[in-house]
């Protein structure tokens, strides 16, 4: 049976078409200013690929989940990321770390369902937005920042507030500190914040990193070190929410 899952995040819109256990199609487009437009664009794209959107059951998730007229139901990204991560990881008991554009969630999965979760409060520290702002202050793409961070060290960003941390980074640049050292400090700041959030829910077993930073292996490596546990990720991890939504859509 075929189904569709669409995950409209603050930064990217991810969608997948699944048939039973197989992923037939997946894609990410920028959400941009309007989640309604992004949803429409995703629909047109899937239709152009030959998927009949009028027939396929669809569930939407993510912060723009209410903007998808063709979805039969909405579910929160917490529920969907959990289910999708369990599918991608082929595990039932583990924890998901979802570093999203505007928030970071830690989801504890037991027996394949969500047992407990935390979300960062009204603050960008430890989120994808924090990394984006810092990367832009250094005129780098987020992925590039993570890459060069691996070669750096000895720099500590002490501000938790994104605005203040940005000035801290700018003053480090002014002092002539190397980019890789600053990048390392930025990654360390995110990792420490996320690791302390992980401490708020039950642990045990391994972690799975979802969200846009899944293509920064260095983040997973540093998280693994901070948590003293294995942190897996992969290029498909950004689709965990959409995959989870598609799996739930099969049950509609």
């Amino acid at each position: 049976m075929r189904s569709v899952g669409i995950d409209i995040g603050s930064s990217g819109t991810k969608y997948v078409v699944m048939e039973d256990q197989a992923l037939l199609y997946h894609r990410t487009i920028p959400t941009g200013f309007s989640s309604v437009k992004a949803a429409q664009q995703a629909k047109e794209d899937m239709e152009a690929r030959g998927y009949d959107m009028a027939l396929l059951p669809c569930i939407s998730t993510g912060y723009g989940r209410g903007s998808v007229p063709y979805a039969a139901k909405t579910l929160t990204e917490i529920t969907c990321h959990g289910r999708g991560a369990a599918y991608l990881m082929q595990k039932e008991t583990f924890s998901v770390i979802d570093i999203g554009g505007q928030d970071t969630k830690v989801i504890r999965m037991e027996g394949g369902s969500v047992k407990e979760f935390t979300m960062n409060d009204k603050c960008a520290a430890g989120t994808g937005r924090f990394l984006e702002v810092m990367a832009s202050a250094m005129e780098l793409e987020p992925e590039a920042l993570c890459r060069i961070a691996k070669r750096g060290g000895n720099v500590h960003i002490s501000s938790m507030c994104t605005t203040f941390a940005e000035s801290e980074v700018i003053s480090l640049i002014g002092q002539g500190v190397s980019r890789q050292d600053i990048a390392c400090g930025i990654v360390e700041s995110i990792v420490n914040k996320v690791a302390s959030q992980c401490g708020m829910v039950e642990s045990g077993g391994s972690y799975y990193l979802t969200g846009g930073l899944c293509e920064c292996p260095y983040i997973a490596e540093m998280l693994s070190r901070a948590l003293g546990a294995q942190v897996e990720t992969g290029p498909m991890a950004r689709y965990a929410g959409a995959v989870g939504a598609a799996l739930y859509a099969r049950e509609l």
Partner: protein, 383 residues
């Protein structure tokens, strides 16, 4: 008696103007108003003295910017809002209060009362911080006697023991009416959304005719039960049963209870101050020392300002048994230290009882409405 309205009266909304006119009419007929902030205020004493009590707890962000000129930003929104209403003359009850009564509850309130005392006539009662301490009851009893003295010297209000006994009888009846309304929710499915029940409960805090307001609550309870018995099911059995605990909730009612109830949940029990916590303990109107009996009742309130606060945990345990919730949501107002520290104990208790637990910290703004919706919806999805 000539009573003046505030200068900005004409600019207010109709509802607020009506509030002002209602309070003004009370004053013009020689009535006196005591503004209160907390469930520790012994209402019976004011009833016996023939003084109206009305709740002044600020519940909107409207006056917070004004309050922040005197108070720190990182303070409980309820405290800032309450102070802001006094500062801006926007609350009819604060404006018309002959006396504002506070207690030494949390640090934020205590220190705010010092500043409020510059604007209004404020009387602060010394509330003990450990209800089980050997001196606690004696102190609180003496504080209530001192309040009676103060009302006599300030307003010439004579309070006899008989007046107090009568007041206790009525307040007991009112508390029973509150509890009976809330206990309707023990049924599966419950007969109402709590958001609607809360409006009825809250109206008691702003009534100048306590007797008829109590009757209205009793009538509402009967009506809801009758309709339920006749088959009305406004809440489907699919709604997940939620118990709410934590800080006073009026200012975030829509964001918390409203969001839960429009996303597949129903609040079956609210332990918070506006809910069952302060309503279950009665005063024995026949007690030999009626003042001490009143004091004893108020010390039973399991507020996080008490240290330790075993009563809250005991009540939650009891309520879980009675109301059978599927999840517990702990609502903590920003910068409320007592309740945010107790989160640790609540989490442990929920775990021990095997009930999923979600703490949320929020304020009176709408900034976190989206996040809160995601959090609460995900919690309900997970149940």
């Amino acid at each position: 008696m000539h009573v003046e309205l505030p200068a900005s009266f004409e600019a207010f909304s109709e509802a607020r103007r009506n509030g002002f006119l209602k309070a003004k009419a009370v004053k013009e007929h020689g009535g006196r108003i005591a503004g209160t902030f907390c469930t520790f205020t012994p209402n019976e004493v004011f009833d016996a003295a023939g003084i109206h009590t009305v709740s002044l707890c600020g519940t909107s962000e409207e006056t917070i910017p004004a309050a922040e000129s005197d108070l720190p930003k990182n303070l409980c929104p309820l405290i800032k809002s309450s102070y802001g209403f006094a500062l801006t003359d926007k609350c009819p009850y604060t404006y018309f209060s002959d006396l504002i009564v506070g207690e030494t509850t949390c640090d934020g309130k205590k220190k705010m009362y010092e500043l409020l005392g510059r604007l209004k006539r404020v009387y602060v009662m010394q509330l003990p911080q450990n209800a089980d301490h050997p001196q606690a009851l004696a102190l609180w009893t003496e504080e209530i006697r001192a309040l009676i003295q103060r009302l006599r010297s300030e307003f010439g209000a004579a309070v006899s023991d008989e007046d107090l006994r009568q007041a206790c009888k009525h307040r007991n009846r009112q508390r029973r009416a509150r509890v009976a309304l809330m206990e309707l929710q023990k049924q599966t499915p419950p007969p109402a959304f709590f958001k609607d029940l809360y409006k009825v409960l809250d109206s008691l805090n702003f009534s100048f005719d306590q007797e008829s307001s109590t009757q209205a609550v009793e009538a509402m309870t009967q009506k809801l039960q009758r309709e339920y018995d006749e088959g009305a099911r406004p809440v489907s059995a699919a709604h997940k049963r939620i118990l709410i605990t934590g800080c006073p909730i009026t200012g975030v009612l829509e964001k918390t209870v409203g969001t839960i109830e429009s996303n597949g949940g129903v609040v079956v029990c609210m332990e918070n101050c506006g809910g069952i916590k302060p309503a279950r303990h009665m005063v024995d109107p026949q007690a030999e020392d009626i003042v001490q009996a009143i004091a004893e009742r108020y010390l039973e309130i399991g507020c996080a300002v008490m240290s330790p606060n075993r009563r809250r945990m005991e009540m939650i345990r009891q309520l879980v048994e009675e109301f059978q919730p599927e999840g517990i949501v702990d609502v903590i107002l920003q910068a409320c230290h007592p309740y945010s520290v107790e989160r640790f104990e609540m989490r442990a208790l929920a775990k021990e009882m095997g009930i999923p637990y979600l703490p949320v910290e929020t304020d009176f703004s709408s900034a976190d409405a989206g996040q809160l919706t995601t959090r609460l919806s995900a919690f309900i999805e997970m149940l």
